[in-house]
């Protein structure tokens, strides 16, 4: 299993948090996804072996929780909240803006043509007072109307260009 040394260290450490190894399934899956970008078939088998579980036990969990991806997605992950409070103040238009800016469609496995971005609708992100709310990678952005969505998109594009 190809992971960074510190990921392996953190995996071994987190297993010690629980009296039953199986409890470490979610933490291990998070660590693997943070490192590799997604959960591969190999990763599922590896996690199962590591925790002395059957592979089906891990597969059941990976497919139950939407945060885990089975395939690589865009380099940047834009999650737009679609639940009522955000929708009431324009969440759907915000998502549309991102879709237009990156020429893509919202979907859990959709990747923009340049591979940079995955735009996805998610359920309530628990910041309804500052709706519409968008989670880009691990940063929460509040009051994201169309104008701010455009700003954030420009920022993403600038960061992508700077990397090249």
């Amino acid at each position: 299993m190809n992971l960074k040394p510190e990921t392996f260290q953190r995996i071994d450490e987190v297993i010690t948090h629980y009296p039953v190894k199986r409890s470490a399934t979610l933490p291990l899956l998070h660590l693997v996804q943070e490192d590799a970008g997604y959960i591969s078939d190999e990763a599922i088998d590896w996690v199962a072996k590591k925790l002395e579980l059957e592979p089906i036990n891990v597969l059941e969990v990976v497919t139950f929780y939407p945060m885990f991806k089975r395939k690589p997605i865009g380099r940047r992950h834009i999650k737009v909240c679609r639940t009522l409070s955000c929708a009431l103040v324009g969440g759907y238009k915000t998502c549309e803006t991102f879709e237009k800016e990156f020429n893509t469609h919202a979907g859990p496995t959709e990747v923009s043509p340049d591979g940079e971005v995955t735009v996805e609708f998610v359920e309530c992100l628990a910041s309804c007072g500052t709706a519409p709310v968008v989670l880009i990678d691990e940063t929460l952005h509040e009051k994201v109307d169309c104008a701010k969505a455009k700003q954030l998109s420009d920022q993403i594009k600038a960061e992508a260009a700077a990397r090249k």
Partner: protein, 453 residues
């Protein structure tokens, strides 16, 4: 009469300039002193104070915390666990986030005090997966606390040890249900357990007695440990003691969080005085008072009956604006206080579309274990979505309601009620709009109309 002042107890330092979430700042404000003093007391004493306080859970069910602690099986010989339910996912709710991000040590202190009171040596904070930054903040705070010997083995030489670990979820609302949370913590699909026999107080995490408490609830415990249960009863109203954090969102001028003593503020005061009333040119149409699972209230409807005030039975005749914001009053008028998430809709909103948005949420979050919720939630979503985006038929609204009626009371967990109450209440309160939707939707919509689903 205009609204009373807020009483920022839990949210005392939220968004306060110069207040940071590190230990040094917390200590500067007297942090962990209550914990130290609590260690000098008998654990049963602390439990009694919480019982006396009448503190009701702030996660949504409003179950008395003292009673919950009292149900724990302390004779089994198995270790007792405490789980902090930080899976804040009820639509419309956004209070625990602020506590964890900006004042994490308040949560840690409240947790340790609660663990000490209940002879718990191991606690887990189950935080929703989307709050990755929150998990990091909590882990850093716990590390600081551990370094200062406030968490971990032999806390401050007291011989009492308690370890806290943060455990991240991964995008499932059903992990907020206490037995679903326990299953998820055990590393499985978050399928809630049947009760009986799997009451967490007896057969919880790893089949050991377990307490599951909401983030805000544990912060109130810290207050009770400091000031006593009786002092807590002086805040709020009888049977609805302490402060509540109301999270107002949707079509108001000033959405946001507001902490008031329970029952001392009415819906009207909250929405008009505190939140500035509706947006320019708009009027209030509907409000969901306690997270999207709570039944909707329609502005203009009236609630009449008799209620107990002190020792007397007194008549009440309320409009939506007059309902006091507390568990019992809201329950009396046919809805619930729930998680305190107040979602406001104005006259620009089409209720059929709003319901379609909510139905899509529940069908996505259903764990799928039991038949009525699994099939019913998706069926309601399919009908709602078809009504909005496809072909709406005259009988669809009644069908929606009839499907919803087949779910509550028949499921393994309260998600059955949560997914069906919106449909039932939206239809009953806005029957005119639902029954005519197949006609009214034919009218062209303005180009800038808000899309809800």
């Amino acid at each position: 009469m205009s609204a009373p002042a807020q009483n920022r107890i839990i949210f005392k330092h939220i968004d306060e300039p110069d207040y940071t979430n590190d230990l040094a700042c917390y200590l500067k404000h007297g942090g962990y002193e209550v914990m130290k003093r609590s260690f000098q007391r008998q654990p049963q004493e602390l439990i009694d104070e919480v019982k006396k306080s009448g503190l009701r859970g702030r996660g949504g069910a409003g179950f008395p915390c003292g009673v919950k602690w009292g149900l724990v099986d302390r004779k089994s010989g198995k270790p007792i666990y405490l789980i902090v339910n930080a899976d804040e996912s009820e639509p419309g709710t956004f209070k625990d986030r602020y506590i964890m991000y900006q004042d994490p040590h308040q949560l840690i202190e409240g947790t340790i005090i609660s663990c000490f009171a209940n002879n718990v040596k191991q606690a887990y904070i189950y935080i929703r997966g989307e709050m990755a930054e929150g998990a990091r903040i909590l882990e850093k705070a716990i590390a600081e606390a551990r370094a200062a010997n406030f968490v971990g083995p032999n806390i401050l030489g007291s011989n009492y040890s308690c370890e806290i670990f943060v455990h991240r979820g991964a995008g499932a609302y059903i992990c907020g249900e206490e037995t679903g949370l326990i299953e998820s913590l055990e590393g499985k699909r978050a399928n809630p357990r049947i009760k009986p026999p799997y009451f967490p107080a007896v057969l919880g995490l790893y089949q050991c007695p377990t307490i599951v408490n909401n983030v805000e609830t544990l912060c109130h415990v810290k207050y009770i440990a400091e000031h006593g249960g009786e002092a807590f009863t002086k805040i709020g109203t009888p049977n609805n003691t302490g402060t509540r954090i109301f999270c107002v969102s949707g079509h108001v001028q000033r959405p946001g969080y507001y902490e008031f003593p329970a029952g001392t503020i009415t819906m009207g005061q909250l929405l008009y005085d505190v939140c500035g009333g509706p947006l320019p040119g708009r009027t209030f149409k509907a409000v969901i008072p306690g997270g999207s699972s709570a039944k909707v209230m329609r502005f203009g409807e009236r609630y009449k009956g008799k209620r107990k005030v002190g020792a007397d039975m007194v008549d009440y005749d309320w409009g939506v604006e007059d309902v006091p914001m507390d568990f019992d009053s809201l329950a009396m008028v046919g809805t619930m206080g729930g998680s305190g998430g107040v979602i406001v809709m104005d006259d620009s909103v089409n209720m059929v579309e709003a319901l379609a948005n909510i139905n899509a949420f529940y069908s996505h979050e259903s764990c799928g274990q039991c038949t009525p919720c699994r099939e019913g939630s998706l069926w309601m979503k399919k009908i709602s979505t078809r009504m909005v985006h496809g072909d709406a038929r005259p009988g669809d609204a009644a069908l929606l309601k009839s499907v919803a009626d087949q779910i509550p009371g028949r499921t393994i967990c309260a998600f059955g009620e949560a997914c069906s109450w919106p449909t039932q209440s939206f239809y009953l309160k806005f029957k005119d709009e639902f029954e005519t939707y197949h006609e009214t939707k034919k009218a062209p919509k303005p180009a800038d109309a808000t899309v809800l689903v």
